[in-house]
């Protein structure tokens, strides 16, 4: 589904991603872990070109999105993204947030878009918030709406960048539950998170990133149970102790 070849990303003189090769297959659930500043977000944001790679190639379903003439907007329509800080549109109600893209991009007419929005709201358990503005929602509710908004485009893959990091502890569960359900339905997912429990339960593959490289990857059992790389061990000993 996604093939990454020799991906590099520099911010000025700072080299953030160094020659990353990766392959993400249909239906895989990839969890990316690693210390702060290791380039996890940047890697994720390169996958839908929110950050423009400095070098290398990224193919999405045989479309080279790093090519000059690629129509990135149509590729992004099948790649949903969920952000740490939700980024809901504050001037629109919950329903308006969800229907904006499918309606603007003429995926659905208005009635169908609204119908679909309510289906998604049922799915994340927030039908009764349909006509509220985002300010009235808790963090966990905001993030569930953000997930619904991304799903409204019927994406083939979902990218999550620390979706629970900005949440109060008691709200993390409700968001992870929605994500787990999504995974069980077979969605291809790439998730940057510090939730090791979630990674163990849901991940088909864990990638450990450090200093702009994928240092180690494998099943959760392999990476968490029997890490081979010293940096992975050091990192895991820090996060798993808590």
């Amino acid at each position: 589904m996604i093939t990454v070849e020799k991906l590099c990303k520099n911010f000025g003189s700072l080299s953030v991603l160094k020659n990353i090769d990766a392959e993400i297959k249909n239906g895989e659930k990839i969890v990316i872990v690693g210390p702060s500043g290791s380039g996890k977000s940047t890697f994720l944001r390169c996958l839908n070109l929110l950050d423009q790679p400095s070098a290398g190639r990224i193919m999405v379903d045989d479309v080279e999105i790093t090519a000059e003439d690629c129509d990135i907007n149509s590729v992004r329509q099948k790649m949903g993204m969920v952000f740490q800080h939700f980024n809901l549109f504050p001037h629109l109600t919950v329903v308006e947030n969800i229907i904006l893209a499918p309606y603007q991009l003429k995926k659905l007419n208005k009635d169908d878009a609204i119908k679909r929005a309510y289906e998604l709201l049922d799915r994340v358990g927030l039908r009764e918030k349909a006509n509220e503005y985002p300010i009235k929602l808790s963090g966990g509710q905001k993030q569930r709406i953000a997930i619904a908004r991304a799903l409204a485009m019927n994406p083939e893959i979902m990218l999550f960048d620390e979706p629970t990091s900005a949440l109060d502890p008691e709200m993390i569960g409700e968001v992870l539950d929605v994500m787990q359900e999504l995974a069980e339905e077979g969605m291809t997912m790439v998730v940057v998170t510090h939730e090791m429990g979630f990674a163990r339960k849901v991940a088909s593959r864990v990638m450990f990133m450090d200093e702009g490289r994928i240092v180690e990857q494998g099943t959760p059992d392999e990476v968490f149970g029997n890490p081979k790389n010293d940096r992975t061990k050091l990192f895991l000993s820090k996060v798993l102790d808590h």
């Binding site: 839908n48 929110l50 992004r76 001037h91 991009l105 503005y133 985002p134 300010i135």
Partner: protein
């Protein structure tokens, strides 16, 4: 029996609660009433001093002046039509200013986002620098005497054009700041859904930007309204000019100029009132 659960307060109720509880109307406006009463007494004495049998030279003179300034030749109509002219210029200039300002703001933001339109950006920058670096009166005279020097054209249109071009530069800065103040994540969220830059700008960024800068834009409108008073430099008979024409006809500066000042003041106070209403409503519905 248990206490009923505490009533859940919505954000707007909380914000509202912090506004000082209003005093009764008369108490809030006590000084306004005193000043109004003094003026009224003054006016009544001026108007009816003969009937009242009062012989006070000051009031007699004021009375004569008033009649000369406003009644003779229906001179108050000069003020009325001057006011009309001022309003027409202001409305046209505001429309032009908003259009120009929005266009320039978007050009500058495009440039900032790395979507450079080389020649156009440069041009916009020169425009902003020159317009904001020179007095509006000078711009007005240059446009009238130099650019339209040999062409006969409506002075009101020229004035509207000049003030619009001038206001556009300030509006551009206001809107640009408003756009840049919108959280970066909003553009990213829009783009990540597959929306184009243009649609994201139009549907997501600009509505938020406008809401943020509405008070500043309103201020610009008030400034513009007052600034049009220099239209007299190209002999447009606007409100200020009308007052001056009466003064030069009757040689009484006091009443016509005060009358003009009063009309401007009332308009500005009205607009300010509207603005604070809008601001309050924005604050209450603030859904960030």
């Amino acid at each position: 029996m248990t206490e009923p659960a505490e009533k859940h307060e919505s954000i707007e109720e909380v914000v509202f609660a912090y506004e000082p509880s209003p005093e009764p109307f008369w108490k809030r406006h006590i000084y306004d009433f005193i000043i109004a009463a003094v003026f009224l007494v003054f006016a009544l004495i001026t108007a009816f001093s003969p009937q009242l049998g009062l012989d006070m030279p000051f009031f007699t003179k004021l009375r004569t002046n008033f009649i000369n300034d406003f009644i003779v030749e229906n001179r108050f109509m000069w003020l009325v039509s001057g006011l009309g002219t001022t309003l027409i210029i202001t409305v046209m200039a505001t429309t032009l200013g908003l259009t120009l300002g929005l266009t320039l703001a978007i050009i500058k933001v495009l440039d900032y986002n790395g979507k450079r339109i080389f020649f156009v950006t440069r041009l916009a920058e020169y425009y902003l620098t020159v317009i904001r670096g020179t007095p509006v009166v000078v711009q007005l005279m240059i446009i009238y005497y130099v650019i339209f020097g040999s062409i006969s054209v409506s002075k009101i249109l020229v004035a509207a054009l000049a003030f619009g071009i001038n206001s556009g530069a300030y509006v551009a800065e206001i809107i640009r700041a408003g756009i840049l103040a919108v959280d970066r994540g909003q553009m990213e969220a829009g783009r990540s859904l597959g929306l184009t830059y243009g649609v994201t700008m139009q549907k997501i960024i600009l509505p938020q930007a406008f809401k943020n800068v509405l008070p500043a834009l309103f201020n610009e409108l008030i400034t513009l309204l007052k600034e049009t008073a220099v239209a007299g430099y190209i002999a447009v008979a606007d409100l200020a000019r009308a007052g001056d024409m009466i003064r030069s006809r009757t040689f009484d500066p006091l009443l016509p100029l005060f009358a003009v000042a009063a009309v401007y003041l009332v308009m500005v106070m009205g607009l300010t009132q509207v603005m604070s209403k809008i601001e309050r409503r924005l604050r209450r519905s603030d859904n960030r």
